[in-house]
Amino acid sequence: MLKFREYVRAESLEDAYVRNQKKSAHILGGMLWLKMQNRTVQTVIDLSDLGLSGIEETEEEYRIGAMTSLRELELHKGLDAMTGGAVRESLRHIVGVQFRNLATVGGSIFGRFGFSDVLTMFLALDSWVELYHGGLVPMERFAAEGTENDILVRVIVKKEKRRYAYLSHRNTKTDFPVMACAVAVGEGWRSGEGERAAGRAVFGATPARARSYELPAEWLERFQGSGEEERKVLAAELASVVPTGSNIRAGKEFRSHLAGILLYRGLMEALYGGSGQAAGAGAPACLTEEKEGQRA
């Protein structure tokens, strides 16, 4: 159990930031994970009074306050419509309604947990983390680097006309995933030089932290132009570069196997709503793991 001496409700982001520079301080999210840590800290800082709860919609984006609960996110109609239900799907397995009423978007992203459905989903969205000092940081970079003592203020999701799917495999329905896969297809990715990314696949609970992979346009075209068995092979090949490992929930080999299957199913769902027909010509397959910073 976490123990601490002092609880402070920050009066401003600046106040929170200044207090958080001390090593013995910790920002509170939903406290679900923090609570279970067996350690003592001096000060916990609560951002509850800073108006960071709620989702704001503008012409271009959704601005999700760090203290927004996962339940609010799950029930948000705009995000649900934009992602074809993928955001809701990524959240509804997380323990239960009472848990999701407490767990915050900020806490889920900030923790960069390996098991995180939330991070896996957001990596498939055109999403950014707004840090109080660090400003806007692309989600991939935040996922890779995190931040020591900056404050995560909100998560920004750009409105993009893409199609999404979220799939996970779990030992029981509300357990952590054994493997999670979020897929986005559609144009508009700011890709690396000379590449035409037409989609993105994110693998979470590998069991390490979620990683994002570009789906080059050529590859996707080939996938679409192939028959069922060939598509499965393509997906498995693509997923085979995803590093996996073993833990209490499953072994490495099974996770690698699942990665290919979930990718195939995710693509089918995103492209065809789950049961479409192949279309378009094939092109050579290739997959590039997205390099950090390319998009920034």
Partner: protein, 764 residues
């Protein structure tokens, strides 16, 4: 019948649903010392030294105890009738710690914070010893879990601590090897089940305090108040007359609370300090330092003629009792004695077993108590036999199933006096749609739907051992008080025993108040375990009510004679539940008259205590069938439908029996598919929370259909047998069967995770 076989509300239902304070921690005195224990981080070690001075200096710490402070007499924590078959291999704190979690020191303090701080300051030096973590290597291993000379076994169960043996035996009839050699087809396999946790919602907990008479009062979440009294007396070395044990409402037991898990530590603290104290196990402790199911490896051979008549069954069970022997010698027996007798045809059987000590958490009693493990093995083997014979497994069973009137040699030679197992099986098959669905259907998209089936039995109490008692008393206003020593742990026994009393006394169940269990006030009862309460204690209730009725008739006749100068004897009176009528004169006295009269100038108590023990333990029977949808790519198993038909004799309360069945099935589904107990290489149990040990949620269990095919058990109260345990036994073999029907792969180790299925299919 007005009461029996009625779905009457549980007497405590509304209090429970409205969150009333009725559990141990709701009732504990406010000023209790908080008791916790420091636990060993090593699987096998000798304590070299324990430094407690820094811990004692923490403000608010009242006491710190180590192995040097406790009695040196060994005892068992198993809640069993004396002399216990479980070996006396425990101390309150031992210098030799034998599993990760074994208690090293007891700390008591005014607040939880103080105790937590003090626990961190107790400094222990260990000599770490090599440990036995694989139970297959335990027997005759040079590492001894219990090398001590003070270890002792009270009963002839084949125990030998110098061989790591907690029990060992062989029994049988006929020449199994010879008969198997003659069989046209033999199915065999070795089946491995894990040390699943009962995972009742209320963790182990106890509070203790002294009463006005200087006696140690123990308020504990337990199924066994009388055994707790003896065990505490043994452990602390104090007279039983100094101990009173009471149970409040219990937040689930499933056998876990048939062992004295939490009681000893606060009892010791209160006895030593004179202060009230309480100990509440964390979920982590409940997962890692408690009393789970015995891990077993059951090897089975089943032989049959080519037309499917089973000729012989051979079972060998290796059981892992862990670091201590609680319930070790007894659970193993059920793995053969309550699986082999499902079949009436064999000419020969053999059942052998070894129960071994290892350096993991001690096992104990968990619903099914060894039968669950044995039935998974035998029923899986029979399903494989059907496959080998190219025979429908329902038909195969109907050719061989035990039937009413059959003698069951492997069940201590008892006769199945009440048995509708064949009907249970046929009805279950009908409910699941067996004819249409067996073995499987391809749904496209890599999904297969398949079905699986299994049968089960259990006992109804321990024959010749279990004692059930009931006191029934008439009060003024004509209501009755029923006092019992059996423990309602949510099962509803307070209510069903009251239903039986009401039936006997021709009144409504509301007219019976129930009190128990309290070692001072309750008549002796072994406690609620071994599926005993309905059958054994129920019979005591029936008898007590019969005798009370006679007494009331005599008293009524006395009143009639006095009031009306009627010449009437008790036997001549007619009782309609509210009044005793003399048919000759038309005069009557009411229950209220009687109750009032018994409190004025009376020489006779209108109270009766009766005790019952049964020389037989009539098995309830059951069939269960499952339909699953299996994803051949991911290995995911979705439970679609589970059909079950139970023969528990007369159903006393159909609602409660049905919910017992549903609850047992869902626990069984968890056991079959994902309840996983994993130890790391150093013997740490990794599934130490509800985050890591997944029990079924309501999204994981599909649709349940439960029916009853009641036989009438002549020795049971109103024809009843038991239901509490049998209900967990069919899911593992039925689901393994369905998975085999979907994939062609027979999984012999639980849980059958999606990983095992998917990887198995890839390697096929």
């Amino acid at each position: 019948m007005k009461n029996v076989n009625q779905g009457i509300h549980k007497k405590d239902a509304m209090a429970l649903l409205m969150g009333k304070p009725v559990y141990m921690d709701d009732l504990a005195p406010r000023d209790c010392l908080i008791v916790k224990v420091l636990r060993s981080p090593h699987a096998n070690a000798m304590i070299q030294s324990v430094k407690t001075d820094a811990a004692m200096k923490v403000p608010g710490i009242a006491a710190v105890y180590t192995w040097e402070d406790v009695p040196a007499e060994r005892f068992t924590m198993a809640g069993q009738t004396y002399p216990e078959p479980s070996p006396y291999d425990r101390l309150i704190l031992d210098r030799h710690v034998r599993y990760v979690g074994d208690p090293v020191a007891i700390v008591a303090g005014e607040t939880e914070d103080a105790v937590d701080r003090a626990l961190k300051l107790v400094k222990v030096q260990y000599e770490v010893l090599p440990a036995i973590l694989d139970f297959r290597t335990a027997k005759d291993n040079e590492i001894l879990v219990h090398p001590e000379d003070s270890w002792r076994s009270l009963c002839p169960v084949g125990a030998d601590n110098k061989r790591n043996l907690c029990a060992s035996d062989v029994s049988g009839q006929g020449d199994v090897d010879a008969v198997l050699a003659e069989c046209d087809v033999v199915a065999e396999g070795t089946y491995h089940t894990l040390a699943d946790q009962q995972a009742m919602m209320e963790t182990f907990r106890t509070c203790c305090y002294f009463d006005a008479y200087g006696r140690l009062n123990i308020l504990s979440s337990t199924q066994i108040v009388f055994h707790v009294r003896r065990i505490i007396s043994n452990a602390l070395g104090i007279p039983k007359s100094k101990i009173r044990v009471v149970k409040p409402r219990i937040g689930g037991g499933f056998g876990a609370k048939q062992t004295v898990v939490s009681e000893i530590f606060p009892a010791f603290v209160t006895w030593k300090t004179g202060r009230p104290s309480k100990m509440i196990f964390s979920r982590t402790e409940s997962q890692t330092a408690s009393t789970p199911r015995h891990e077993m490896e059951v090897s089975v051979r089943v032989g049959a003629t080519k037309d499917g008549i089973i000729q012989a069954i051979d079972v060998y069970t290796l059981s892992n009792t862990g670091a201590y022997g609680e319930h070790g010698p007894t659970t193993v027996g059920l793995s053969g004695h309550k699986s082999i007798p499902l079949y009436g045809t064999p000419r020969a059987y053999r059942f052998a077993y070894d129960v071994v000590y290892t350096n993991v958490m001690s096992a104990g009693a968990y619903r099914g108590y060894g039968a669950t493990q044995g039935i998974f093995a035998v029923e899986s083997a029979v399903n494989q036999l059907a496959e080998k014979l190219h025979m429908d497994p329902v038909e195969l069973r109907l050719k061989n199933v035990v039937r009413q009137g059959d003698v069951m040699p492997a069940y201590y030679g008892e006769t199945a006096a009440s048995c509708t197992l064949d009907q249970c099986l046929m009805r279950t098959a009908e409910m699941i749609g067996w004819k249409e669905k067996f073995p499987c259907r391809d749904m496209g998209n890599g999904k297969v739907r398949s079905v699986g089936i299994a049968m089960a039995m259990q006992g109804s109490g321990i024959s010749g051992v279990d004692v059930g008692s009931a006191s029934i008393k008439l009060n003024e206003d004509g209501y009755y008080t029923l006092t019992i020593g059996a423990a309602d742990m949510g099962t509803g026994c307070d209510t069903i025993l009251a239903q039986m009393a009401a039936e006997c006394l021709d009144c409504s169940t509301d007219q019976i108040t129930v009190y128990g269990a309290d070692t001072d006030a309750s008549p002796y009862d072994s406690g609620s375990y071994a599926s005993s309460t309905t059958y054994v204690t129920g019979k005591a209730v029936e008898r007590a009510c019969g005798k009370l009725l006679e007494k009331m008739e005599d008293k009524a006749a006395e009143l009639l004679r006095a009031r009306y100068a009627a010449d009437v004897s008790g036997a001549e009176l007619e009782f309609d539940g509210t009044r005793f009528l003399d048919p000759a004169t038309g005069e009557s006295v009411t229950l209220t008259d009687l109750g009032t009269a018994s409190m004025c100038g009376s020489q006779e108590a209108l109270q009766v205590t009766e005790t019952h023990s049964s020389p037989v333990s009539p098995p309830p029977f059951m069939a269960g069938a499952v339909e699953i949808e299996l994803d051949k790519e991911t290995g995911h198993v979705e439970i679609l439908d589970y059909a079950a038909v139970v023969d528990c004799g007369t159903v006393i309360n159909p609602n409660l029996a049905r919910v017992q069945t549903e609850g047992g099935i869902v626990q069984g589904i968890g056991m079959a598919l994902y309840e996983n107990v994993q130890y790391d290489k150093k013997g740490h149990m990794m599934n130490n929370s509800f985050m890591q040990y997944k029990i079924p949620t309501r999204l994981d269990m599909g649709r349940l259909q439960v029916e009853f095919e009641s036989s009438y058990e002549p020795t049971g109260p109103f024809g009843a047998k038991s239901i509490g345990e049998i209900v967990i036994n069919t899911p593992s073999p039925a689901i393994a069967h369905a998975i085999a029907n979907a994939t062609g792969l027979w999984f012999k180790e639980l849980p059958i995770t999606s990983e095992k299925i998917a990887m198995g299919l890839l390697k096929k």
